[in-house]
Symmetry: C2
Subunit: 332 residues, 2 copies
């Protein structure tokens, strides 16, 4: 048996128990039934189907024509509507609002079969740079409160195999971000320090949960990981907003992510994960308090109402073991 | 498109959008590969394998012998260890403790194939009464901070088809309960009222999210349901601790749960869910603030890192529709 561990930011307790039988199922994931490449809506030749919001491509290329390296298009089945105003209202004691917001897809490359580990550094950098560009643009809209970026990686997480990410901008701050902000704000009030900077300092010094470290970034297996082989990537330079990332950092982040994903693919068969950008809510000054980061959450093999119902997690792969396995593979 | 809704207790925002294509997959669940009845560790004849903690049975029956109606046994692969002391310690900035606690299984009936809807009212009442008995006993241990009860119902949620529940007692309060306590405490400070009592009053008056109402209980589709066909069951009588439930309430709760589960089985093919007891943390006086309740969380068909990573949910079945479908079936 292992430990009960507390996440230092959001105060979530997790059982880390490396002796459990369900460990075995983790190292192989089940594939989703894929949409055939011939029907892929993101492949070149179907540009006219979607009116692009943003694109990178050959100089002189016209919008919605071939020749792109990357396209941002509205999601065909949006969960949020970009028109109109935010109407906040009450139904008795309940709060609700209309689903105003942005829901876009970043088609990350014209190449249907290439995941990030197979793409050039430059192409992954273009994706990361597009997140920054869209973030700077969407920030202008003061109806929006939070930008979410979710990248689905791998063939077990989505029927859409063509590399893509989702850009979602909400008129409210979702609970996952709000909890981090509250936890970080509490730590700052107590210590006048950023909790994420403290975590980085300690983890780099201890080393045992470090997956990969570069001059600018560190990839960690979080101390109280909820999920097996969960990885967190943090910039060493304190910054609340992702959109302040510099050009050199973009390239460094692209290289680091490619290596970490490559290691995860070595360790887990059919590896798939969600990569989630955590950046500060908009229109609040959280520069001293918050610290942007990425969460890599492997597709969860066994799902139970237990975790949803209790907020309590049992993780059979200690993060020290996860880091050690992934470190070996990143050093190959 | 629907609404963005805020949960009134834990401040979680959810998109409720009844027009999404993924609705269709919800009404049929995938079965787990079952452990054959011949190998079931919970069936009569294998009593000697486990040293029972508690049992109900024929008068004069000896422990670990046949003749039981219900048994509580230690889990064979416990996540927590009942021996020793709670050792709380630090690793730099991180908190951890050893996994002290209780992990028991309630074998709810000798009958392998009978779920709650097929059991007698009396037998379901015995299960609910056993939760109370174990809770009163475990409360004596001041190393414990929280009792969790999780009932797996149905053939899509667990390989163990023999009806059973888990009793887990933790030396810390899990995040799901702590959030509810904080939210309810905030509401109480503002209004000097219980937020759950306010919800009950409004929902009973409005009616549109009520699944079933009895003299003592109400079953609701929560206003900001995270999951399709999620149901919450609350006692009308304000009480923070489940263990204060009266004998008459136990029988009423058994009847109501049987009916609600029966309706869910009518609406969803191969219906399975987790039933989670939310009761007040131990050794704190939360009598005025908290209100115990049950959450019925249907097995989640589509699982994405998105929800885990962001704390943001998209639910394609509006709770008003869920209540309406379940109400019709409970009135059959």
């Amino acid at each position: 048996m292992g430990d009960l561990r507390r996440d230092p930011v959001v105060n979530r307790w997790v059982i880390i128990d490396g002796e459990r039988a369900e460990r075995e199922a983790i190292f192989q994931m089940e594939l989703c039934a894929p949409i055939p490449a011939a029907e892929c809506p993101f492949c070149p030749g179907r540009e006219a189907q979607d009116d692009e919001v943003f694109a990178l491509g050959k100089p002189g290329r016209a919008a919605n024509e071939p020749g792109w390296w990357l396209r941002v298009i509205p999601d065909k089945y949006p969960i949020l509507r970009r028109e109109g105003t935010v109407e906040r209202r009450l139904e008795g004691i309940f709060d609700l609002m209309n689903p105003f917001g942005i829901h876009e897809v970043v088609v990350e490359t014209p190449e249907h079969h290439k995941g990030w580990p197979e793409l050039d550094d430059l192409q992954v950098e273009r994706v990361l740079s597009t997140y920054r560009t869209r973030s700077l643009d969407l920030r202008q809209d003061d109806r929006l409160r939070q930008l979410l970026v979710v990248k689905n990686h791998g063939r077990a997480v989505s029927a859409f195999q063509h590399p893509h990410s989702l850009l979602i901008a909400l008129p409210t701050v979702p609970k996952g971000v709000e909890e981090e902000v509250q936890g970080a704000a509490y730590h700052f009030r107590q210590s006048q320090r950023c909790v994420y900077c403290d975590v980085i300092e300690q983890e780099v010094q201890m080393g045992k949960r470090v997956v990969l470290e570069s001059a600018q970034f560190v990839a960690l297996a979080p101390f109280a990981s909820r999920f097996p082989l969960e990885v967190m990537v943090l910039p060493k330079r304190h910054a609340a907003d992702y959109e302040t990332i510099g050009d050199e950092e973009l390239l460094g982040l692209a290289k680091l992510l490619k290596t970490v994903l490559g290691s995860l693919e070595e360790v887990i068969q059919n590896f798939s994960c969600s990569i989630i950008l955590h950046t500060a809510p908009l229109h609040q000054d959280l520069r001293a308090i918050y610290h942007w980061h990425l969460e890599l959450l492997p597709k969860i093999t066994k799902v139970a109402g237990f975790e949803w119902g209790t907020g309590f997690f049992i993780n059979p792969i200690p993060p020290e073991e996860a880091a050690s396995r992934l470190r070996v593979d990143s050093e190959r």
